[in-house]
């Protein structure tokens, strides 16, 4: 029972996702393996952007430059892959991503300028950097990168893109969460002063969290390259979508509470809602309104449950 209670929000999201999957089947009975595969592919860049955002939100910050960092990483990898092998290009891109995140974090810690201001400024800096690297869409993607997210593994309907994403996120997040640094991230997020007095190196912890944000953004940029085969210097609509998924996924914007599983399931919920609205031929101008309404509805419902949970039942 305590497992259910502890993970009630995530379990609820999973249930909601499966219900939405059912709705999709209801509208389009032929929705099957290929539908799941394209859903998982579409979710990839959003999932990494959301993971990136979640880490800094948990540490008590926010990073508005996530989409711009993704653009820098996508064009960096696209340019590098024209001249070198895919693996070194990926490693360099990941290092570039982590470095950008680290720069964001160090600026916030050292200058004491609010995170929202620093990362807003860096949004423009990274956007310009991406355009300097590649002023119009171009470059190339290693074939193995493109194939890595196509098709299913083990059984039909278990999309390879989903497995790739889950493995990458788990390999980074699970050890991190269980490490000293992970504990420090949660401690700093819930109460910076208390964490500091308990001996947590708050500044270093924050900077590290932003570096991980940059690293996840780099994976996001690589997934864009894997999807399209080209690098696009202009950032896509990932910033606000990431914030939305983080909130919907049960991470408190104040920090210290939540994980990555909830937000990533939230990404899938938001993607499948778009699929449903497309399948049902809903007016595209209404689509975004419906998306926003569902989001705020679910979060409000969650807050309502929390309030009831605290009451003297």
């Amino acid at each position: 029972m305590s497992f259910v209670r502890k993970n009630a929000w995530t379990l609820g999201l999973i249930a909601l996702f499966f219900v939405l999957l059912g709705v999709t089947r209801l509208i389009q009975p032929s929705f099957g393996v290929s539908g799941l595969e394209s859903l998982a592919r579409a979710a990839l860049p959003f999932a990494f952007a959301t993971a990136a955002m979640a880490v800094v939100v948990i540490v008590g910050g926010i990073d508005l430059s996530v989409a711009s960092m993704m653009a820098v990483c996508s064009v960096t990898a696209a340019v590098l892959m024209q001249t070198m092998g895919g693996v070194p290009a990926i490693l360099i891109t990941l290092a570039v991503g982590a470095l950008m995140g680290l720069i964001n974090g160090v600026l916030i810690v050292v200058t004491r300028v609010p995170d929202i201001v620093v990362t807003l400024a860096m949004l423009f800096v990274w956007e310009g950097t991406a355009l300097l690297i590649l002023n119009s869409p171009g470059g190339a993607a290693a074939p193995f990168l493109r194939e890595a997210i196509v098709g299913s593994v083990l059984i039909d309907g278990l999309p390879q893109a989903l497995i790739v994403m889950a493995v990458i996120v788990a390999l980074i997040w699970v050890p991190l969460k269980r490490s000293k640094l992970g504990l420090a991230i949660y401690a700093t997020g819930s109460d910076e002063n208390a964490a500091f007095r308990s001996g947590v190196a708050v500044g270093r912890t924050k900077a590290a969290a932003y570096a991980f944000c940059g690293l996840f953004s780099a994976f996001g940029g690589l997934s864009l390259l894997a999807l399209t085969g080209i690098g696009e210097p202009v950032p896509g609509p990932y910033l606000l979508a990431a914030v939305a998924a983080v909130v919907l996924g049960g991470v408190t914007l104040g920090g210290g509470i939540g994980g990555l599983l909830g937000p990533i399931i939230a990404v899938f919920i938001l993607r499948i809602i778009r699929t449903i609205l497309t399948l049902a031929a809903v007016d595209p101008n209404v689509t975004t309104i419906v998306e926003g309404t569902i989001m705020v509805g679910v979060v409000m419902f969650g807050a309502f449950l929390m309030m009831r949970g605290r009451g003297p039942t």
């Binding site: 219900v19 290929s34 394209s38 085969g229 399948l279 031929a281």
Partner: protein
């Protein structure tokens, strides 16, 4: 336990609100999917409305699914894949990039879906491309201008953005016309960047040099060039522009202005729907690339003036190109494109 029950209730309520729209799914006839990644731009909005209006008047089309939002190539891939899942018979898209969408477009064609790219090309093998003939656009306007000058004189050549395919195509057309008129000299060539303010400033600067010239060819940055002449008090020379509402209005209202508007219709989207239906009905064109030829409206003859007057409509969005239909391709009325309603849309 109650919590989870309530979650279930919320989910059920959600499903009910979403489900009724499912009846939009068409039976018999064709369902066409549309994908576009720029929302809120006059040319693109006209394109979408032309698609809806044409789908409405095509007797074989019973459903239209429009995925129309501001997004990147990855988002357009998502939309195209969703359209494939929706089981459409054809996809008409304005591609965000010629190379980025191939994986989804190839999957669509493998599933037997007709793919028509409008306005810009895609490199996916087997996809049809329908766009305005930009070379002819420049040639028509330039030839009219050079004829207007009696085959003799100096012209200012105001281009778009260097390196963009539409600009390159237009340059080819302009050079072709130039080669036919050896007496014509280009005294000044600039890139406006397709920016109104930049083009206007460039014209101010050139007028200030005092170098005489006899005509101006613009790549669509047109009404501000007229403004520059009027504001600086310089005598007007013949000006060629596009069929933007502002310039077309000037052609009928500015005293002493001789000019011509060459059409660059956003209604090429409607032509894309017509082409998709033709292909579905087994009447595919011989070539996978179809170019729509522009027409020229000039204000120096009574006939030309009448055409311009007929094209204007106060109900038309001022941001739209004035040419709302393409003869030989689109079949809808002006009322239908303004209404902007397609078949079977929720």
């Amino acid at each position: 336990m109650t919590r989870r029950l309530m979650m279930g209730a919320a989910v059920a309520a959600l499903s009910v609100t979403v489900a009724p729209a499912a009846f939009a799914d068409a039976h018999g006839g064709y369902t066409i999917g549309v994908s576009n990644t720029v929302q809120g731009n006059g040319w693109r909005e006209e394109m979408i409305c032309a698609m809806r209006a044409q789908a409405l008047v095509e007797p074989d089309v019973t459903g239209l699914i429009v995925a129309h939002r501001n997004t990147d190539s990855a988002g357009q891939l998502e939309d195209i894949n969703n359209l494939i899942e929706a089981g459409v018979d054809a996809i008409v898209l304005n591609p965000s990039n010629p190379d980025a969408l191939n994986s989804a477009l190839e999957a669509a064609m493998a599933a037997g879906i007709v793919v028509v790219a409008v306005d810009a090309g895609v490199t996916a093998e087997g996809a049809y491309i329908l766009s305005n003939n930009q070379e002819e656009y420049a040639y028509l306007g330039a030839r009219w201008l050079f004829e207007q000058l009696g085959g003799e004189g100096d012209v200012v050549y105001m281009r778009g953005i260097a390196g963009v395919s539409a600009d390159t195509d237009r340059d080819n057309g302009f050079r072709r016309a130039l080669a036919e008129f050896p007496g014509i000299e280009v005294v000044h060539e600039v890139f406006t960047g397709w920016q109104q303010d930049q083009g206007k400033q460039q014209m101010f600067d050139f007028l200030a040099t005092g170098i005489p010239f006899d005509g101006v060819w613009t790549s669509g940055i047109d009404n501000v060039i007229v403004d520059a002449f009027v504001e600086s008090g310089a005598p007007l020379v013949p000006i060629v522009g596009a069929d933007n509402a502002g310039f077309v209005q000037y052609l009928t209202t500015v005293e002493g202005l001789q000019g011509a508007a060459v059409t660059n219709p956003g209604s090429v989207g409607g032509a894309g729907i017509a082409l998709a239906v033709d292909i579905l009905n087994g009447e595919a064109p011989d070539s996978t690339t179809v170019l729509v030829d522009p027409v020229l409206w000039e204000n120096t003859t009574d006939e030309g003036r009448a055409t311009i007057m007929a094209a204007q409509n106060p109900n038309l969005d001022p941001e739209w190109p004035v040419s709302v239909s393409i003869p030989g391709w689109t079949d809808y009325t002006m009322e239908q494109i303004i209404a902007c309603e397609g078949p079977g849309e929720g």
